[in-house]
Amino acid sequence: MKKSLVIAIACMLLSGALLRSNPEPDRLFIKNATIVPVVGSKIEGGNVLIEDGKIKAVGKEVQPPAGVQVIDASGMFVYPGFIDSYSHFGLVEIAAIASTSDFREMGKENPELRVVWAVNPHSVHFGTGRVTGTTTALIAPSGGTFAGISALLKMDGWTVPEMTFKETATSFINFPMTPRPVGEGVAVQAEAKEDVTSKLVDRIRDYLREARRYQELKKVAADDPAVKAPEYNAKYEALGPVLDGTLPVIVSVEKAKDIELAIKFVQDEKLKAVFRGCAQGFKVADKIKQSGIPVIIDSLYTGPSEPEDGYDAPYRNVVALAKAGVLISFSSGDSPAQGKDLPYHAAKAVAFGLPYDEALKALTINPARIFGVDDRLGSIEVGKDADLIIASGDPLDMKTEVTQLVINGRRIDMSNWWETLYQKFKSRPEK
């Protein structure tokens, strides 16, 4: 009895010692940094206390509790983690090799497909994509008219469930694109011809009508045993929350004329829409603003949609949308290999006139609002998830190094595929 008590106490002491030596405690203290909280004003020489994955306190006066692990961030800058509003992280490893690609299903209508079934949490692109500060990404399917259901994932975790922040984030509709008239003088001709785009939009409307009928029939059948319920249809089931406006739907649309059609479509169908792309949004910025539809900006490493728009149209576009008051956010776009460029797209927009603070918002609090998660992400505020960037300078600057990321209050291992190769071949002796 006495012996077992001694063993029990020894075990308790040992486990206590083990707990204390745990490199990732539940509490973390970031000391003496320039904090850019995005919501609220900049704090010089500020501290952040993190507890159980959340931001517990922020400010100059915040003191470190006894025994807390401290990150001395003197001379460093702390920002909220960036949110990539559209990416294929974990869904494609090498674009040219089909066996590594899982973001595009066959067929046009796949509203029921979920990216969380396909994401590879150990894709190298998570590690390399976050080196510039991305802590959360919308992982999107693509292709067809209804591409499927995206998820919001934190950029760290052993498994997909561990990474998953919001399993059902958005649905997708790829809006038809009006083709550019080909050849000289054809523009006039094309205008006179039938409106192909509107016909294609009508097909989407027809599909939604069927889905709506299915939902109504189901409801009627549930109330009235005499009515036979419709045969289970996964696609119409998946569109249920889209049709009742509870699940946001990302509508990809580029040309000015199509944007106008899409606004009408969204309003008629009473969808909770987010536009993606809007390359010619600057031509109809006020109309987008009026509609209240936010816009996810695609990669700015792109040329103008049409040469007449001017060489700088992609950048001017962002400036015009923001100026009109449209809620915008940035995304890295189709290639997760280029995911780390996310803040550089923002920098490009700033170069051409987007106010710096707006750019920062469009990487943080704006996407959080767009995806309805601003109660947890997008700024350094008490109670929010402790997703933080610690950087040597301005993270929009290509020359800045993000030295440490914190995700869910944990210091992330910053090593990645690139670092591994760099260290290995840097060590080859020079001859």
Partner: protein, 450 residues
């Protein structure tokens, strides 16, 4: 990896707007005053001036007096760097750049298909690019000849050619000539392995050696016949073979070899082959794994023309790092940052900034990767790549340091002529917009009934 921005039709008003030449030193001297001059060869001169006479830089320094009748442009503290040289490009060419019809296509020439109306020439200027090396594609172990162009937007095809620049031969190793990707480039054919790619180059060298010998023999016999004054019958010439002549030009050192390659071992392998046949290989294109064989690249004096951070689009592009350019440069390899893409070309200066972060080159070295290094690779470093008296007046003016994340290229000059001026572009865009608006607004009726 060619990216095309489709340009359909001729955009009359817009193009003519972009084509007007605004200021030129051809008529009278031009003095650029009061800028930060990134000379590349002699540091950065703050509050510096550049005097341009004709097509050349006449003088660089501080407080230069304006010669009589000179036009002056106040840089007002803007940054000037030598025009960016994109050493791997496929713009300004008519149609496709891959001759898919055969394995070896040394006979075709980009010079024959220069398209001076490609709007990408204008886009190049908007990104500070003044010269490019535009090339055959990468479907063939030995492809066609490439050519250096100056971005003289609005001029004829012949006028775009960079006078005196050495002609190049495009080679390609690995996945593209193997035609092995899911996104295939053409029909199945030999070669399908890296072995086959190397052998198909070797085969051509042997054939070309024979061809050279045949012609040499013929010349010898023809000479003897001529000297014999009718005693010896003149020989029949060998059959002309343009393809083998192209390969012979490689063996004779007339063409500068630019070899598209990704994997380090195939680079070493082709280097051995080149040594065996006495072929001078100037530069590996892409060379994404070049950072693994810096010792060998330095030893054999082979340059690398690469991306800052474009990767993982195919297997052979997977084992690389954004630190590659810096690692190569820091170990003495001549490195150029290229675009290979009509869009990337517009922000090569941003790409250069990334090599400062990844791998830690100095800002000066990062700028060299856009200027004097590609100039050396193209054999035009006596003409361009630095801001020095005597060099071509090819300049790019930025509102901030070119490596600043928020910088914008505001003016680009080729041969002392301004081909892009952002202020003028903005004014013209505004004018065009107003004209468009005026067209749409119906005129008010005069003396109407209301």
């Amino acid at each position: 990896m060619k990216f095309k921005i489709a340009v359909i039709g001729i955009l009359g008003a817009f193009l003519s707007l972009c084509q007007s030449l605004w200021v030129s030193a051809a008529e009278k001297p031009l003095l650029l005053k009061n800028g930060h001059i990134i000379t590349v060869s002699g540091g950065t001169i703050d509050g510096g001036d550049i005097l341009i006479q004709g097509t050349k830089i006449a003088q660089v320094g501080q407080g230069l007096p304006a010669p009589a009748g000179a036009e002056t442009i106040d840089l007002a503290g803007r940054w000037v760097m030598p025009g960016i040289i994109d050493s791997h490009s496929h713009i300004a060419l008519e149609g496709d750049v891959n001759e898919m019809g055969d394995i070896i296509t040394a006979e075709v020439d980009c010079k024959d298909v220069i398209n001076p109306r490609d709007i990408n020439i204008f886009y190049a200027l908007t990104g500070g690019v003044t010269s490019i090396h535009t090339m055959h594609g990468s479907a063939n172990p030995i492809g066609g000849r490439g050519i250096a162009l100056k971005m003289r937007w609005g001029k004829s095809a012949a006028d775009l050619i960079f006078e005196g620049a050495p002609l190049t031969s495009k080679w390609a190793l690995g996945e593209n000539p193997k035609n092995s990707n899911d996104i295939g480039m053409g029909p199945a054919r030999y070669p399908k392995t890296r072995m086959g790619v190397e052998q198909s180059i070797r085969d051509q060298f042997e054939r070309a050696k024979d061809y050279i010998k045949k012609w040499a023999d013929y010349e010898k016999k023809a000479k003897a016949a001529k000297e014999s004054k009718g005693k010896i019958a003149p020989p029949l010439p060998p059959k002309k073979d343009y393809r083998l002549e192209g390969v012979a030009d490689i063996l004779n050192g007339k063409l500068w070899v630019r070899c598209h390659a990704y994997q380090s071992e195939e680079m070493l392998s082709i280097l051995r082959l080149c040594r065996e046949y006495g072929v001078k290989l100037v530069c590996f294109e892409h060379g994404l794994e070049g950072y693994r064989i810096t010792n060998e690249l330095v030893k054999y004096g082979v340059a690398v023309s690469t991306f800052a951070d474009f990767w993982a689009y195919k297997w052979e592009a997977y084992n690389t790092i954004p630190h590659a350019a810096a690692l190569c440069a820091n170990r003495g390899v001549l490195v150029a940052l290229n675009s290979d893409d009509a869009e990337r070309m517009r922000h090569l200066f941003n790409d250069a900034a990334k090599t400062v972060r990844f791998g830690g080159v100095s800002e000066e070295e990062a700028i060299r990767m856009l200027t004097i290094n590609p100039a050396k690779i193209l054999g035009v470093d006596s003409r361009v790549g630095t801001i020095e008296a005597g060099k071509d007046a090819d300049l790019a003016v930025f509102n901030r340091h070119p490596l600043d994340p928020f910088t914008v290229c505001e003016m680009t000059m080729v041969d002392g002529t301004v081909y892009f001026d952002r202020a003028r572009y903005l004014a013209d865009m505004k004018k065009a917009e107003e004209e468009e608006k005026a067209k749409k607004t119906p005129e008010k009726k005069s003396g109407g009934e209301d």
